[in-house]
């Protein structure tokens, strides 16, 4: 059974500035979704729900059109259908923002009368999504979305909307999001989040943008087509048979004759490698047998023996006609202004005795911590996946936004980062404030696996499993599994199985920086922090060095 939220994409820690919105008080996010579904003052594309105060805002825009901000304890839900720029079946539900016909003529607004007097108007067909001049399919036309055109001589024309790769795939199926879950020989696929019968490294949280859901066939690693691990102990993995879409794939951006970035869009005709070897034709298997054929990679322009970069390499390459050199990079001239990445300047080689802590609000922190308070890995600042953002090195040149290290580019309270968890946009980092440090005392050998101490808290206390059940103001805590006197559905033993929400003990299920809290039995007070002492830092913990490693890597 699904819930109303299945058709929404959830992102924690996100906030949208939105002129068109309505504010409600709801007890649950489902109720808030109901509000959005039934919103009649505008088309509700998303809603915001704040977990502790249970405030609900329905929004006309989403992250495609509105600026997104960071905010703790806020969760953004966006209606999936409005995020997709592709169509399913004949596109009657298409709600993307394509506004040109297949011949490139701009569409006429559905609410306009010129140059064409429309039969289909927003007033007559309120459910057809006839906004602005976006392509739509109000009459269930089998040829798909269309629009009235701004060309007086052409009343209407169809639009070129790519098919969502839910029932079929384009190219090599890198964007396939369908539900085929058996291999070409009929074996059932293993779930991606399981390690049985085959252990593997394709952890969904490590490949957030690859949609490694359930046991559906996917192509996360540049194979010719989608595949999965199988439930047969004797067959580790196998390709799947996913139908190819009948409509043409999305039109790629025009190629370049020079090198920009990694050259994935290079479409020039250089066919000699950097050491002077002639390139082998991609369609040939001699002298080197390979799988990078034009048939396997229909959308990578593997023409003739031209240098290409079909698989995320660092620059265009080719197999060579030299038997002793299987493949080599090619030397492609850079496009103007597309400077090569400057080599990393090596840190001068001196021993630094520093603790992993930050001064003040952490704006000057330059350490290498890269995990958040709740243990999520940080997203690299240079990456836009899974979270698009504007905290880039060129926007914040003095913020040292390197790798995925915790930083505080916008002078927040403490260092933070975007997370690799698609559903959690950002979190504060797992760093102590230097002023909280206490000097190390005489050494005592640590155990390799430390047993947590239940009378005090480490960091923000997210691992606290003690039995304190009164708030700092002396109020008794409400049972987490109870809805009385305060009904809540967000933090329950069911929704947060790993958070230790036993009885009415103080806990920190949402990684609140101020530590464990609980709902209270006082009807006038929904929730309050608890007062639990901090544990003294252990002298030596396994895996933590007193001298910060350089962490150099080959560039």
């Amino acid at each position: 059974q699904g819930t109303i939220l299945d058709s929404y994409v959830r992102t924690e820690g996100a906030w949208l500035l939105n002129p068109k919105k309505q504010t409600y008080k709801t007890n649950s996010k489902e109720e808030c979704a109901e509000r959005c579904e039934n919103e009649n003052t505008f088309i509700c594309r998303a809603f915001l729900f704040t977990s502790k105060d249970q405030q609900c805002l329905t929004l006309a825009e989403n992250t495609k059109t509105a600026v997104i901000f960071r905010r703790t304890d806020a969760v953004l839900y966006e209606k999936r259908i409005y995020l997709l720029e592709c169509k399913m079946r004949n596109g009657v539900d298409y709600r993307g923002t394509e506004a040109k016909t297949q011949r490139g003529v701009p569409c006429q607004k559905w609410s306009d009368n010129v140059p064409h007097k429309p039969n289909y108007t927003p007033e007559k067909y309120p459910q057809a999504g006839l906004e602005e001049n976006y392509c739509r399919n109000p009459d269930n036309d089998e040829k798909g979305p269309w629009c009235y055109t701004t060309d007086p001589a052409t009343r209407f024309d169809y639009c070129n909307i790519p098919e969502c790769e839910v029932e079929c795939m384009h190219c090599s199926g890198e964007n396939y999001h369908g539900v085929v879950a058996t291999t070409e020989s009929g074996l059932e696929c293993q779930r991606w989040d399981s390690q049985k019968p085959h252990s593997h490294g394709y952890l969904p949280e490590n490949f957030p943008e690859k949609d490694l859901k359930m046991n559906y066939c996917r192509n996360p690693d540049g194979e010719p087509r989608p595949w999965c691990f199988t439930t047969s102990p004797t067959k580790r993995w196998e390709y799947c048979d996913v139908p190819r879409c009948t409509t043409p794939p999305p039109v790629p951006a025009p190629g370049r004759q020079c090198l920009s970035g990694r050259g994935e869009d290079y479409q020039g005709t250089i066919s000699v490698t950097e050491s002077g070897n002639t390139c082998q034709h991609w369609s040939s298997q001699s002298p080197h047998r390979h799988a990078r054929t034009p048939e396997n990679y229909p959308c990578k322009n593997l023409e003739e023996n031209y240098c290409r970069n079909p698989d995320g390499e660092k620059m265009p390459w080719c197999y060579t006609t030299n038997r002793t050199a299987r493949w080599e990079y090619c030397t492609i001239p850079f496009c103007d202004g597309a400077e090569p990445e400057a080599p990393a300047v090596d840190v001068p080689d001196q021993a630094q005795i520093t603790e992993e802590c930050y001064e003040g609000n952490g704006v000057t922190y330059r350490g290498t911590a890269s995990f958040t308070l709740t243990g999520k890995k940080c997203q690299a600042w240079s990456s836009m996946s899974p979270h698009r953002h504007n905290k880039t090195a060129d926007q914040f040149p003095n913020a040292d936004l390197k790798e995925n290290y915790c930083r505080n580019p916008d002078a927040d309270r403490r260092p933070w980062c975007y997370t690799t968890d698609p559903s959690v946009r950002w979190e504060y980092c797992n760093l102590k404030k230097c002023s909280d440090q206490v000097p190390a005392t005489l050494p005592k050998p640590p155990q390799t696996t430390l047993e947590p101490n239940h009378d005090c808290i480490h960091g923000n206390g997210k691992d606290y499993r003690g039995t304190v059940s009164k708030t700092g103001r002396g109020r008794t805590c409400q049972e987490w599994s109870s809805q009385i006197p305060h009904s809540h559905d967000y933090f329950t033993p069911v929704t947060h199985p790993g958070a230790g929400l036993d009885k009415n003990y103080c806990r920190n299920p949402d990684g609140d920086v101020n530590g464990p809290w609980c709902y209270t039995t006082d009807p006038r007070k929904a929730w309050e922090y608890c007062d639990i002492p901090k544990c003294p830092p252990a002298q030596y913990e396994c895996g933590i060095s007193k001298f910060r490693p350089k962490l150099c890597a080959q560039r």
Partner: protein, 230 residues
Amino acid sequence: IVAGCISHPHSWPWQISLRTSFGLHFCGGTLIDPQWVLTAAHCLEKSSRPAAYKVYLGLHRERALEASVQKRGVEKLFKEPHRVDIALLKLSSPAIINDYVIPICLPKENSMLGGREKCYVTGWGETKGTGGDGYLKETGFPVIENKICNRPEFLNGRVGNHELCAGNIHGGTDSCQGDSGGPLVCKDQDKFVQHGVTSWGLGCAQPMKPGVYVRVSNYITWIKNVMENN
């Protein structure tokens, strides 16, 4: 270590140097407990006698002249019973844990390292002319999923499930001879965890030939049993 860089002194305090009885370095190892070191079984092929080996801890330079150096004999050797390239050494007496000597954490049993994880290897082994000889060097690179590593153009099916690959597919940096037995560590929150024991490779730092490491999480039960029973 080929390429990479000279590490900050004592910034990998679990790294140990496995030596002959007359003090010649020949393999790496990792301190996992004040009295126990994890290394590669193939480092112990020269002799099955514990007295043939010495363990040096708390050093940055191979010469081991620093005041922080601790030297221990080996009381007992334990090779993994199914000929996997991993072994345990019990030191003749516990090492003193201080700023320069700290054990590494071990992963949870059968925990799987995700692809793309960034991990680090360290050692005093062969540098292939990339400098830093005689100093503890380090380098970092991503884990490569076994499925990719076993592709024809990589290691063509040679890597078993009990092993993991790590390196840059266009080569350039790698562990090498003399680093064997040492740690492949990855960060987990604020701690480093040892996921691999440096085991083998086809050459060093060659394109499409990542290094191969024994997957430590497969052997947590064996490690615990040996430590508890000895």
